[in-house]
Symmetry: none
Subunit: 242 residues, 2 copies
DNA sequence: GCCGAATCTCTGAGAACCCTCAGAACCGTC
DNA sequence: GACGGTTCTGAGGGTTCTCAGAGATTCGGC
């Protein structure tokens, strides 16, 4: 379970993540979700706060909004790096500000997510960052999720059912990833919507039904179904009984 | 995987690289990239610092900017060589200052890269230096990359697909090298841009699409495609299934 | 077996994304 | 200074993806 939910240090202590953004709603949600994933979380609302917190918290990773009220995010980054060069950074950026400002970021191993993002995407990126940082010296094992006859290689973005490759669109992929990270657990449509779709998505839960139907067509077609409807509640992904 | 990512000494200890440049942004990114490649890295911002660090760090290779704020780079080199004659040096030079100064130096087996450079180019040069110096675990054979029916001789700059030689322009070659070093892993356009293009390149990710299209014409033309588009994410190089 | 509610699926429109072409700008060479 | 090769910009066009609406279907309770 440990490898699926929270990653931890070699000694078992939880990974520390610092979240920096000036919207309290966002830091709140992020803080809660990350904590739920088994990480130790602190938040800060601006650059000065981030630097102060980092000094004593010594985070392993930082989720950092580039647009901060006081100091420029890239400047904050440099400060953080000066204190601990190893720290991983996941940037949050507005869609249009991507091209010019984030240039060079992904080269150093860091990554970014454009607002508005889905929580699953942010989590996946963060996990990837930490995984790669912890594994630099060893072989770069790719993240492999498996549930019954289903398996997903997150790096290659390849999904197979009973050995056969299945082509998925980005949203389908994201939905399946969420299901595979929570096998045997019934997930409500609202829960799925909150995790897989961007936080500013206004639409109804109807899309979830639609995409579950897409997934079924590609994954369960003709085989023993793995995606089950729990009427009035939501959906479960279960490995077929052997 | 180990031979692809980090090179190491015969005894398995990681190769030590010292990076010397007065721009913190540059040493920062370089340091992280090199560390990610499995090397042990230290940085210095000037000649005096470099000499001091080298004394105790005893690097196997040095990435050295010729233009340093305090001491002339060539002077630093002489100092370093005096302490350990074996050290490999990769010079960083401004474009116009090339001929007069570096010409003589490279005779000694060292190499240079002109600013602004792409990270892939610098990495390739550094790997080449270390390989030729006999620091790698595997034999000092020429660097040969192979993915399915594709193979690339980095020294000869020759690429073949299913035995047929393919002519590539410098940028195409660099792009393909990056893809071949990360087979089966989906690379985003931003990632590719950050690695294959020079760090001062202001352009849009659109160029990546363009060059992928060039590469496809030369490499995949008429054959089973190896370069695949992952819509909304990026590109992957995959060996055709056998 | 019937009914209402929940769920599934089909369709189409709009948007996002990607590929390619043509030409301009930029080399280095002769 | 002209030329060939390379790199990059911009625009057009085709494809794919997402999502809303509406009808069809299934499910569970009665």
């Amino acid at each position: 379970m440990d490898d699926v939910r929270g990653l931890s240090h070699a000694d078992g202590s939880p990974v520390r993540v610092l979240v920096v953004d000036d919207e309290p709603d966002l830091t709140d949600v992020l803080g809660r979700v990350l904590a739920q994933e088994g990480w130790q979380v602190r938040t800060a609302a601006d650059g000065a706060g981030a630097i102060a917190v980092a000094r004593e918290f010594r985070p392993d990773a930082v989720v950092l909004d580039i647009m901060l009220p006081d100091i420029d995010g890239l400047r904050v980054l440099r400060e953080l790096r000066a204190a601990s060069p190893e720290v991983c950074v996941l940037f949050l950026t507005a869609r249009d500000a991507v091209e010019d400002r984030v240039a060079g970021i992904t080269a150093g191993g860091d990554d970014y997510v454009t607002k508005p993002f889905s929580l699953e995407e942010l989590l996946a990126r963060l996990r990837g960052l930490l995984r790669r940082a912890g594994l630099t010296r060893r072989a770069a094992a790719s993240a492999l999720l498996t549930v019954g006859g289903l398996s997903m290689d997150e790096d290659a973005r390849e999904v197979t059912r009973d050995g056969e490759v299945v082509e998925l669109t980005p949203t389908e992929f994201e939905l399946l990833r969420f299901l595979m990270r929570n096998p045997r657990r019934v997930l409500s449509k609202e829960q799925i919507l909150d995790r897989v779709w961007s936080y500013d998505f206004g639409g109804r839960a109807h899309v979830v039904e639609l995409y579950v139907s897409y997934l079924r067509k590609k994954i369960d077609a003709g085989r023993t179904p793995m995606i089950h409807t729990v009427r009035g509640v939501g959906y479960v992904l279960k490995p077929e009984p052997r």
